[in-house]
C-alpha cells in the first residue's frame, strides 16, 4: 500500500479500528518483554554509579518516562497539525487518547525524579532543569485537558486543542533551552542524568531497552484508548453495532 493510500485510509476510524487490533497486541507483548528485561537489567545487573551508588538506578525509569512523555506531547502537536490541515477526525481521537497517558507518564517522570533526588540531594523536591522541564510539560498537558473540559462541541473542542497542542509544541524547544540555561546559572555543576556520552555501554544499553519498552507501551496504551474512543464516537453506526450483536451487550 502506498503512502498516499495509507493516508486516505487513515481518514476512516473504522479502518483504523480493524487494522490496529493486531498491532495493539504486538505492542503490548513487546512492551512487556522490553520492560521486564530493562527493569531487571537496570535495577539489578547494571554497574553501580561511582558517585551515587545504587540510588541512580531510578534513572532507568525516570529518563525514559520523561523522554517518551515529551514525545507524546509532540505527537499531539503533529496530530493537531493533521487535524487543522486535513480535517482528519482520527487526529482528534489521537489527541484525546494521548492526553491521559501523557499526564500519567509525566507524573511518573516527576515522581521518579523526586525519588532520585532524595538520596542524592537530601530533599524530595529540587528545582533543577529537568524537574522544571517536566513540570512545565505536565502543565502543558493539563492546559489542553482543561480546555477540552470547557468546550462541549466535539469539532470545536478538537480544533481548539489541536491549535493549543501545535503552539505548545513549537514552544517546547524554547522552554527546554531556557530552562537548561537557567539551570547552568543557578545550580552547581553536579551529576546530571543527561550525560549519556560518558556512560559506558553497560549503563546505557539497559536505558535504551527501557526507552524502547516505554515507547511500545505508549503505542499500546494510546492505540487501545483510540479504539475505545472510536467505539464511543461511532456507536450509532452499523459496523459498531454489528460488533456487539453476538454478545447481546445492552449498548449505550
Amino acid at each position: 500500500m502506498s503512502l498516499k493510500e495509507l493516508w486516505h485510509k487513515l481518514g476512516s476510524p473504522r479502518w483504523f479500528y480493524q487494522m490496529s487490533s493486531p498491532w495493539v497486541t504486538a505492542f503490548g507483548f513487546a512492551a512487556a518483554l522490553l520492560l521486564v528485561i530493562g527493569v531487571i537489567w537496570g535495577l539489578v545487573y547494571a554497574p553501580q554509579d561511582y558517585q551515587q551508588g545504587n540510588s541512580f538506578r531510578i534513572m532507568y525509569v525516570h529518563v525514559p518516562a520523561a523522554m517518551v512523555a515529551q514525545s507524546v506531547y509532540i505527537g499531539m502537536g503533529v496530530a493537531g497539525f493533521v487535524l487543522f490541515v486535513w480535517r482528519m477526525k482520527l487526529a482528534d481521537v489521537a489527541i484525546a487518547a494521548c492526553l491521559p497517558f501523557g499526564v500519567m507518564l509525566t507524573t511518573l517522570a516527576l515522581f521518579t525524579g523526586g525519588v532520585w533526588g532524595r538520596p542524592t540531594w537530601g530533599t524530595w523536591w529540587e528545582w533543577d532543569g529537568r524537574t522544571v522541564s517536566t513540570l512545565v510539560l505536565l502543565f502543558l498537558f493539563i492546559g489542553i485537558y482543561a480546555l477540552r473540559e470547557a468546550i462541549v462541541d466535539v469539532e470545536l473542542r478538537g480544533r481548539a486543542s489541536a491549535l493549543l497542542a501545535m503552539v505548545g509544541t513549537i514552544n517546547i524547544p524554547v522552554i527546554k533551552y531556557s530552562v537548561e540555561w537557567w539551570n547552568t546559572l543557578h545550580q552547581p555543576a553536579s551529576f546530571t542524568i543527561s550525560e549519556k556520552p560518558t556512560m559506558p555501554p553497560e549503563m546505557w544499553l539497559p536505558l535504551l531497552v527501557m526507552v524502547l519498552g516505554i515507547y511500545c507501551y505508549a503505542a499500546h496504551n494510546i492505540m487501545s484508548r483510540m479504539r475505545i474512543e472510536i467505539l464511543q464516537r461511532e456507536s450509532r453506526t452499523q459496523w459498531v453495532r454489528n460488533l456487539f450483536v453476538v454478545d447481546k451487550v445492552s449498548g449505550t
Binding site: 462541549v152 462541541d153 466535539v154 469539532e155 450509532r236
Partner: protein, 195 residues
C-alpha cells in the same frame, strides 16, 4: 449570487436540518423561515463563513452579514464606525457620503454621539447605513426587524426593496414577514433529533 447545494449545517457533529438546495439570483429577496432552533442563524453564519461545520456545498458572492449582535463598537460614534467598517474592506468613505447615508436612515443628528448612548433601535439604523455604504451585493440578515420601531421597520422595507431593485440579494431569517414586493422562501426544516 448565492448557491446552496445539499447544504446541511451541523453542530456537535449533528445535522441541524434537512439538506437545502437553492440558487439565488440578483434581485431576489429570500425569506428564511423555520421554527425556533431550526438552524436559521447557523445557516446564515455558515454562508457568511463564520460557521465551518457543514456538509454540502455553498457559494456566495461579496456579502455583508448582520447577526443578532449589532456589530458596532459602542465606544465609537456612528461616523467612526462607518469609516472603520469601510477600512476593513479597504475602502475609504468620503465624510459627506457617510453623513448623507446617516441622514437617509434618520441618524444624521446623532452622527457624533458614541453608540453606547444610542438605543438599540438607533444602533440598528446605523447598521443599515453600514449595509448601504458597502458595495456588497448579498445581504445576509439575521432577524433584521429586531428592536426597530414602526418607522424603523418601514425604513427597513424601503431599504430592502431598493437593494433588490438594484439587482442585489437579500437573505433574511425572520419571524416577522418581510413586507417587500416579490419574495422567495427558504424553509428550514429541523432534522429529527437522535434519541
Amino acid at each position: 449570487m448565492v448557491g446552496l447545494e445539499e447544504l446541511v449545517c451541523k453542530r456537535d457533529e449533528r445535522p441541524l436540518f434537512a439538506p437545502l438546495t437553492m440558487t439565488v439570483n440578483g434581485g431576489d429577496c429570500v425569506e428564511v423561515l423555520g421554527p425556533n432552533g431550526a438552524g436559521k442563524t447557523t445557516l446564515l453564519r455558515t454562508i457568511a463563513g463564520l460557521h465551518k461545520q457543514y456538509d454540502g456545498v455553498y457559494d456566495c458572492a461579496n456579502f455583508i452579514f448582520q447577526g443578532h449582535r449589532i456589530g458596532l463598537d459602542e465606544l465609537m460614534t456612528p461616523l467612526e464606525n462607518l469609516a472603520w467598517f469601510g477600512s476593513l474592506q479597504g475602502a475609504k468613505f468620503n465624510d459627506q457620503v457617510m453623513q448623507d447615508m446617516l441622514l437617509k436612515v434618520g441618524m444624521a443628528k446623532l452622527a457624533l454621539t458614541p453608540c453606547q448612548r444610542l438605543s438599540q433601535g438607533q444602533q440598528r439604523r446605523v447598521a443599515m447605513a453600514k449595509w448601504l455604504l458597502s458595495s456588497a451585493k448579498v445581504w445576509l440578515l439575521d432577524e433584521p426587524y429586531t428592536s426597530l420601531d414602526r418607522a424603523g421597520q418601514d425604513l427597513l422595507n424601503e431599504v430592502l426593496a431598493e437593494h433588490c431593485g438594484k439587482g442585489g440579494v437579500v437573505m433574511a431569517a425572520t419571524h416577522v414577514p418581510l413586507r417587500v414586493g416579490k419574495l422567495r422562501t427558504l424553509n428550514v426544516i429541523p432534522s429529527e433529533a437522535d434519541s
